[in-house]
């Protein structure tokens, strides 16, 4: 069908011209916009404050408990530092949930339609949102790790305040803790993008972190330690986290743990799969 060109008005004004020198949409501008959205979201603040508070509380409690019973057993600075970061497990689920919510609220509120009319290139919008999330949760995790370190070092003798810069192993363990939290945030973000449901995304994330491990443990017992179950346990998310962060995990773990290198690859795959599927869904589905 040939389009009809409207010809109603006899004297139409000249077409309005947009000044071509005015700024257009940019990745930096979109990142600023997405970071501002996170800042304006009360949930971001609450989840971050609870993450830092819980991380500090757990570090203090663990260090205090060690100090009380220091005579009964001894440990080294690295082990103490690892124990002091126990709160990072809570950071993973809390900030991972923020990763889910950061995208799902756009869908549940309909705000995604405003966002996409401003930034219709969906890959740009999604990557700017992911980067803003990484910056926000990355900063939160840095604060949590540092406060946990300071509290642990101040309360428990084996760990010194300066060990964070003088002991390479401790600094590396803290960096890995940071990376694992951020990867879990991106895992949540990928799940949220894919499922477009806050409840669905958080339940799946929590299942990946806590339920799969339990199910595999039961299977291990039922199958009398079948090789395929053992293989699955090795690539289970929290087992990979343990293998990647904790340099002594293999010494006392009940189940086999991968070395840090393969564990890092496994964690990257766990994060990449929902992210890529989420991106495919986001760029192809109607909004």
């Amino acid at each position: 069908m040939t389009p009809n060109l409207n010809t109603a008005s006899s004297a139409r004004p000249p077409a309005y011209q947009v000044d071509p020198t005015l700024s257009g949409v940019s990745f930096l501008g979109t990142f600023r916009s997405e970071f501002a959205k996170l800042k304006a979201l009360r949930t971001s603040w609450w989840l971050s404050i609870v993450t830092i508070g819980l991380g500090a509380f757990i570090a203090g409690a663990v260090a205090f408990a060690y100090q009380q019973f220091a005579g009964d057993f001894s440990t080294n600075a690295l082990d103490m530092a690892v124990q002091g970061q126990t709160g990072s497990f809570f950071a993973m689920i809390l900030l991972g949930s923020l990763g889910v919510i950061a995208i799902t609220t756009e869908f549940t509120t309909g705000a995604i339609r405003s966002s996409l009319t401003a930034v219709p290139r969906r890959t740009t919008l999604l990557s700017a949102k992911a980067l803003a999330l990484v910056v926000w949760t990355g900063l939160t995790t840095v604060i949590m790790v540092l406060i946990a370190h300071v509290l642990t070092a101040l309360i428990a003798d084996p760990l010194g305040l300066g060990d964070i810069v003088t002991d390479g192993e401790i600094a590396l363990m803290y960096a890995k803790t940071w990376l694992v939290v951020v990867l879990t945030v991106l895992l949540g973000f990928g799940l949220g993008t894919l499922l477009r449901s806050s409840a669905g995304g958080i339940v799946v994330l929590a299942s990946i972190m806590f339920v799969v491990q339990i199910v595999l443990s039961i299977l291990m017992g039922v199958t009398d330690g079948a090789a395929w179950v053992e293989a699955l346990i090795q690539v289970e998310y929290m087992n990979l986290v343990e293998g990647f962060i904790n340099p002594t995990a293999g010494e006392y773990a009940f189940f086999p743990v991968l070395d840090p290198g393969p564990a890092a690859v496994g964690l990257l795959v766990w994060t990449a799969v929902p992210l890529v599927l989420g991106w495919l869904s986001f760029t192809r589905r109607d909004s």
Partner: protein
């Protein structure tokens, strides 16, 4: 240029065809009304124009390019597609600022559109406290943020008070007078008749009319109201092929198919005294009902019962 072009645009949801191979072109400098009953495919077409929905077939472009390929989308098209497309926890001002940030638009411009749309003090409040009318104003403020060349408004007067409705009408007219392309949807012909220069009427996903308002009006059948004490004689005199008569009361006839001059002449020839001879202007509402009568997807129960009798 600022031209919106749809070519063979189609959108299907499973077995349901929402938009069925439509083609049109909208030029700048006028308000084009997009009219049709609920579910006729107006919103879907507008969503496809700004890339929110992907066409199943066909294309829709702005100045020859898909919307997403424009360097400055907010300066190219301002769209109000859904008054609720905002995060309820943000303030109106914060909502506008996050959109402005994507294009490096200044906070000064944000304040300008807040003033322009009458949001005023409400811009400081969280959106969850907004009425539907305030949400509409916020949506329009967002659409105007980039001072764009093309404006797409989907049912912009929904929820507005009479002052707000008048404001939207005059704003649409003003924007078109500045040479912008203004595309406004509505399911109310009365609203369109006061705003649009040109109409595209949609029914069940297909274009059933695409013409200037004046042309649509003139295409309607002319009706003439005639009052006389000799109504039976007049009915006999006028009762010829192509003429239909409707008795409104004991002295009044509504005649369709004859112009007032011919009616007056026949009355004179047959010696009938007329008390009134009034041409009835066919309204856009009549034309709209006539055009879309077969395309209405959802009818009220009362109307169905009436038709069933």
């Amino acid at each position: 240029m600022n031209v919106i072009t749809a070519e063979n645009l189609t959108k299907r949801y499973g077995s349901k065809t929402a938009v069925d191979g439509i083609s049109f072109q909208l030029a700048p400098g006028k308000v084009t009304g997009f009219l049709g009953p609920n579910g006729s495919g107006k919103s879907t077409t507008m969503r496809m124009a700004v890339g929110l929905d992907r066409p199943t077939a066909g294309t829709v472009t702005i100045d020859g390019k898909p919307f997403a390929q424009h360097k400055a989308p907010l300066r190219t098209v301002g769209a109000v597609l859904d008054a609720g497309a905002t995060h309820p926890g943000r303030t109106g001002r914060a909502h506008l600022r996050v959109l402005a940030a994507t294009h490096g638009i200044s906070n000064k411009r944000v304040e300008e559109v807040i003033e322009l749309t009458g949001l005023g003090e409400a811009a400081r409040k969280r959106i969850k406290g907004y009425s539907l009318g305030m949400n509409q104003r916020l949506g329009i403020a967002a659409a105007l943020l980039g001072d764009p060349a093309v404006l797409i408004f989907d049912e912009p007067v929904n929820g507005l008070d009479p002052e707000g409705v008048r404001w939207v009408r005059s704003m649409a007219r003003q924007l078109a007078a500045e040479g912008r392309t203004v595309f406004v949807s509505s399911h109310l012909m009365s609203e369109m008749s006061q705003t649009a220069d040109h109409l595209i009427v949609l029914g069940r996903g297909r274009i059933i009319a695409d013409a200037p308002i004046a042309e649509l009006l003139s295409s309607g059948e002319q009706r003439v109201l005639v009052r006389t004490e000799q109504i039976a004689d007049l009915a006999n005199a006028l009762n010829t092929s192509g003429v239909s008569l409707e008795h409104l009361d004991a002295e009044t006839l509504q005649v369709t198919g004859l112009d007032p001059r011919s009616i007056g002449r026949r009355a004179l020839e047959t010696g009938i005294v007329l008390h009134e001879l009034t041409p009835q202007q066919s309204t856009l509402e009549d034309q709209y009902m006539k055009l879309t009568g077969d395309y209405v997807e959802y009818r009220s129960g009362g109307q169905n019962q009436e038709e069933a009798r």
